[in-house]
């Protein structure tokens, strides 16, 4: 239902994008808030031998089995320190839950939709396939993650294998 006489705050909310800011490696990323089910600290991740490398393992999230996908692997970054479990973004896809493992999760950022800029053409194609656009923040760039692409091709890859 659209509000025909919404106030200014609502209007501006519609023109704003909300992101959960996450850090993966040195880069700041933004995951659209509506794509994320929850944020949790991954505990006791069971590694799965023979699984595609980006699958960090399986974990138990309140009785449901979550497939953890390592964002660093997906983005082709070096692995995290072994002692650092990182944080996980819970993403629901169909009846399955995936946990996208990132280094750390920061605050929720709101950016005007109009300021989203396309990814520069010379950026690595792997990244371009998983980044929807870029916001210029004061100090650094916020790369907007296409969460379903980060999760998605993990599934596709496994099927092809």
């Amino acid at each position: 239902m659209t509000t025909h006489h919404g106030d200014n705050a609502e209007l501006s909310a519609e023109s704003m994008n909300e992101y959960v800011s996450v850090r993966i490696g040195d880069q700041l990323f933004g995951a659209p808030v509506d794509a994320i089910r929850e944020v949790f600290a991954p505990q006791s991740v069971t590694s799965v031998p023979l699984a595609p490398s980006e699958v960090a393992g399986l974990l138990n999230l309140r009785g449901r089995i979550v497939t953890a996908i390592d964002a660093r692997r997906r983005l082709g970054l070096p692995p995290r320190d072994a002692n650092d479990a990182g944080m996980a973004l819970g993403v629901e896809r169909g009846s399955e839950i995936f946990g996208l493992i990132v280094d750390s999760v920061g605050e929720v950022l709101r950016r005007p939709r109009a300021e989203l800029e396309p990814v520069p053409a010379h950026v690595d194609p792997t990244w371009r396939s998983m980044v929807k656009g870029v916001h210029r923040l004061e100090k650094e760039l916020l790369a907007v993650l296409d969460v379903s692409a980060v999760i998605g091709s993990a599934g596709a890859k496994a099927e092809a294998a």
């Binding site: 006791s44 069971t46 590694s47 799965v48 031998p49 023979l50 699984a51 595609p52 980006e54 699958v55 393992g57 399986l58 974990l59 138990n60 309140r62 009785g63 449901r64 089995i65 497939t67 996908i69 399955e96 995936f98 993990a154 599934g155 596709a156 890859k157 496994a158 099927e159 092809a160 294998a161």
Partner: protein, 933 residues
């Protein structure tokens, strides 16, 4: 309206199934009014609903069927098989229409006039005066309103009529609920309000009372009982809307009344039980929640176990007990009686007996045995197929049965019962039993076995061939079975749900198929094993036994050319290390101080040992499916959450076996195109020799031309190669093993192989024995000069690859074949041993060999469009290829142990298997001819 239609389709489908089986029952018990009433009521309801939904075509067919049934019911016609057939045809026609209604959402165009005509003829034509009378006798003012729609069956319910007549005036009274009430009732979505449950429950328009997926609501039953007196009026009024025609209103009302009538009496053929309808997804969600609750409970129990807090323990005990009950209760909602899967069978048997003129009695035992919905769905088709098979192939014609001293009527017996977490379903018949000879012949023809093997097999082993892919023994294709997809499909389906199938059969007495399947796929009993600090679950069903190896155990892991094996009751069992399969940690090295466990798995009918570090526990686990990302990994069938909350992977035995077989295949292909390891066995005469080590080696005697002994000094060295003067020529000598160890004064034994007028000698240390043994090449090898290993006289023995040595002896010689292209040979032989021997020999002679084990492989190669220069192999297989017209005009050279017994027709030549020289000469000459041509 879409909801209405889909609801109608589900209900009607189920009603029709009931009608099918009830009709067959009725045919056998024409006196049983209760059955007839039930059928009549079901069909009537279908008709009524069709009218309501505006499905004239269905309505007309249902109506005509009902009319005929009405005649039975009134005793005007006696029940006869042709009559029942006719009604069944009407039911089938309704099914056809329903199906297309389901696909397209609208009733298909078409005309059932012919069928309706026959039904009407049957109802009236055969007993015209009675039927006419009946029309006249139709009482009171009914026909004024209903006209032809009114059939004797309806009329006979005089008592209900009176009841209805009193209710009918209310139809037009505004106080009656509006039109919306009718669809609301006809589309009983799960959550009907409680006060409507009574109505819904007794409303035949809503479907049969007992439904799959419905939850019995015993506590509501009491409430219904007290409400019952009102039922006959209240629901009727509610169902009848202003929009309905009077005719429909009448029908609905009557169906309604009859339905409630039925309930009050509780005498129907179907057990009446108070139920509510709940969506399957709701149950699934409930199941998931309960699983989580159980796991949480387990976690809690584990935490508290270490504490001494009695205040906590009491409530926790209760929580635990309640959780257990809840789990049981929820599990029950998933359970359905196996009778649901059997419901179609009486009809099928009836059709088979009519079509084939056999007399068959179907006995069903254990209908109430419950199993998981999901499993039930998956075994429905296999069961149907097997019962059909028994009726079609198993039972004899009545005359033959009498001749065999049996009763004319054959019996097929289905039974189901629980046994330790499994359900056992047996399908037995008292027919002629499996034809062992025919199955054996067919197995040979299909290349599944060899003569020698067959002779050694027990009848049961031979019978099991019927489960082999593409196997069907039917002499002719009937419209029932024998279409080539047979028991192998059944077996595959059953194995897919973790079940096993077996057969026993006695000639002349009958056959008995037994199926063992898990009760549920959701919860399985599993063995928890440890491997490299990680835990994995293996379904118990696949585990045959556990063997401890290493320190303090009788069993040891032995190495055979780097391949691991273990002796288990006089058989060599291939071992795979889970570390290797999963690529984690370090494999068990077999050192004496290290202990390990071997889990003997049943992987596709073979024993395979899985080496693991530790066996930890057995646990009931809830199987959770894997996400897409992991579904491609065949080693796992799912994941589960253990009591302590950790997630572990469930290993898939078949997937693991796949990995193992692939690994074996890889090794085998390196070995001059030899085929799959560890498959077929065969009796061979073998020469046991000792050479280059203390353990014996075996050489197939058929390949050896002669055994000779030479004085050590007769062996000369020229140009770094050893030769001996033999029959006026120089014969090269190659040692098996590293070198010739001549002992002064002892003659050197040499195996002589003749080929193309040249001879080659293999020097060995000692000739030990000649044995005739069943050679089961169990392990392939990538060590040069060794084809594989087998147990011979109780010892693991390497089988020598003669071809490799012949090549060695020829090293440095002029390349034998000058042709600029290696000629391609298709080798067809069901016998793995023969393939493995012949392939390298031909390869050594300069041919490019493609070995195949059976017709299916041949077909695959033919389809791939491969070209060959000649075919070599088993005469029957070659004849078969000839008949099928594959590769016409290709020279075919049959190789057999009995050349004189072999039909040479259509074959270029038939050669003795032992004469390798002759084979190569023949091949050379046919390729020569080809060149000339």
């Amino acid at each position: 309206m879409d909801d209405l239609i889909s609801e109608f389709l589900t209900e009607t489908g189920e009603s029709l199934d009931v009608i099918d089986s009830e009709l067959v029952r009725f045919e056998n018990n024409p006196e049983d009014r209760a059955i007839l009433d039930n059928i009549f009521r079901l069909l009537h309801t279908i008709k009524g609903t069709c009218g309501f939904l505006g499905l004239p075509r269905l309505e007309a067919v249902a109506h005509a069927g009902e009319t005929l049934l009405g005649k039975f019911r009134d005793g005007e016609l006696s029940v006869s098989p042709p009559m029942v057939t006719l009604v069944l045809q009407a039911i089938d026609q309704i099914k056809v229409v329903l199906e297309s209604l389901e696909n397209s959402g609208v009733e298909p165009a078409g005309d059932d006039a012919e069928l309706i005509g026959r039904l009407e003829d049957a109802a009236m034509g055969r007993l015209p005066e009675q039927a006419a009378e009946e029309v006249q006798q139709e009482p009171e003012n009914w026909d004024a309103d209903l006209g032809r729609e009114l059939r004797p069956g309806e009329v006979s319910l005089a008592d209900l009529e009176a009841a209805f007549n009193s209710a009918a005036p209310e139809v037009d009274v505004p106080a009656v609920p509006t039109a919306e009430a009718a669809p609301a009732e006809a589309a009983p979505v799960e959550a009907a309000p409680v006060e409507h449950l009574g109505v819904g429950d007794f409303d035949p328009d809503l479907g049969r009372e007992l439904r799959p997926g419905e939850v019995s609501a015993a506590e509501l039953e009491a409430a219904f009982a007290s409400a019952e007196p009102e039922v006959s009026v209240a629901p009727t009024a509610e169902l009848i809307s202003k929009d309905m025609s009077r005719e429909e209103a009448l029908q609905t009302a009557m169906a309604e009344l009859k339905g409630s009538d039925e309930h009050v009496m509780g005498e129907g053929g179907v057990k009446v039980m108070a139920t509510v309808r709940v969506g399957v997804d709701v149950l699934e969600a409930l199941m998931t929640t309960v699983s989580e609750l159980v796991l949480t409970r387990n976690q809690l129990m584990q935490t508290v176990r270490g504490l001494e807090d009695d205040d906590l323990k009491g409530p926790l005990q209760r929580l635990s007990a309640v959780t257990g009950e809840l789990q049981d209760g929820v599990m029950k909602t998933r359970m359905q009686p196996i009778g649901d899967a059997w419901r179609k069978l009486p009809r099928i048997i009836r059709d088979v007996s009519t079509d084939l003129g056999k007399k068959i009695e179907l006995v069903m035992d254990g209908n109430d045995t419950e199993l998981d919905r999901q499993v039930l769905e998956l075994i429905k088709d296999p069961l149907t197929h097997m019962v059909r098979n028994s009726a079609d192939h198993g039972l004899e014609m009545p005359a033959d049965r009498v001749k065999a001293g049996k009763s004319e009527k054959g019996t097929i017996k289905l039974s189901a019962y629980h046994e330790g977490g499994h359900i056992i379903i047996a399908i037995s018949d008292d027919g002629m039993g499996l034809n062992t000879k025919r199955i054996g012949e067919k197995a040979l023809e299909k290349g599944l076995t060899t003569h020698e093997e067959l002779e050694r097999m027990t009848d049961q082993q031979i019978h099991r061939f019927i489960f082999a892919p593409g196997f069907s023994t039917a002499e002719k294709v009937t419209n029932l079975s024998g279409r080539g997809v047979g028991m192998d499909v059944v077996r595959t389906n059953i194995e897919q749900i973790g079940g096993v199938i077996d057969v026993t059969s006695t000639a002349g007495k009958g056959s008995n198929f037994s199926i063992k399947i898990p009760l549920t796929l959701a919860i399985v009993s599993a063995l928890i094993i440890g491997c490299d600090e990680q835990r994995f679950a293996i379904p118990q069903l696949a585990v045959r036994e556990l063997v401890r190896v290493g320190a303090g155990s009788d069993h040891t892991v032995e190495n055979l050319n780097g391949a691991r094996v273990m002796r288990l009751r006089d058989r060599l069992m291939p071992l795979v290390d889970l570390h290797d399969v999963l690529g984690v940690g370090e494999a068990y090295n077999g050192a004496s101080d290290e202990t390990g466990f071997v889990v003997v798995l049943d992987a596709g009918g073979r024993n395979v040992g899985l080496v693991v570090d530790n066996v930890l526990d057995t646990e009931e686990i809830v199987v959770k499916p894997l996400s897409d990302s992991l579904r491609g990994v065949h080693a796992y069938s799912g994941a589960t959450i253990l009591g302590d909350g950790s997630v572990i992977m469930i290993l898939d035995p078949n997937g693991l076996a796949g990995e193992i077989v692939t690994a074996m295949d890889d090794e085998a292909t390196i070995d001059a195109g030899a085929s799959k390891a560890a498959e077929m066995a065969n009796t061979q005469r073998l020469l046991l020799v000792r050479a280059g080590g203390s353990e014996p080696k075996a050489v197939p005697l058929a390949l050896v031309t002669r055994l000779e002994e030479f004085e050590p000094q007769a062996i000369e060295s020229t140009n770094g190669r050893l030769v001996v003067q033999y029959r006026g020529r120089l014969m090269p000598i190659v040692p098996i093993g590293s070198e010739i160890r001549t002992v002064e004064g002892q003659r050197q034994p040499v195996l002589v192989f003749a080929e193309n007028h040249t001879s080659i000698g293999l020097a060995v240390d000692e000739i030990v024995d000649v044995v005739e043994e069943r050679v089961d090449l169990q392990m392939s090898s990538d060590k040069p000069g060794v084809i594989g290993s087998a147990i011979i006289k109780g010892k693991a023995t390497d089988v020598v690859d003669i071809a490799w040595y012949l090549d060695q002896s020829r090293a440095g010689n002029i390349q034998r074949r000058s042709s600029n292209r290696r000629r391609r040979i298709l080798l067809v032989d069901a016998d793995a041993f023969a393939r493995r021997m012949i392939a390298p020999l031909l390869a050594a002679a300069g041919y490019d060999v493609t070995p195949t084990g059976g017709m299916h492989e041949v077909h695959a190669i033919a389809e791939a469009g491969e070209k060959f220069d000649a075919m070599v192999g088993d005469p029957s297989a070659l004849s078969r290829i000839r008949q099928e017209g594959l590769w016409p005009n290709l020279p075919t050279l049959a190789v057999t142990d009995w050349p004189e017994d072999t039909q040479a027709e259509g074959l270029t030549a038939v050669l003795p298997r032992s004469d390798r020289g002759a084979l190569i000469a023949a091949l050379d000459s046919v390729s020569q001819e080809e060149k000339v041509a």
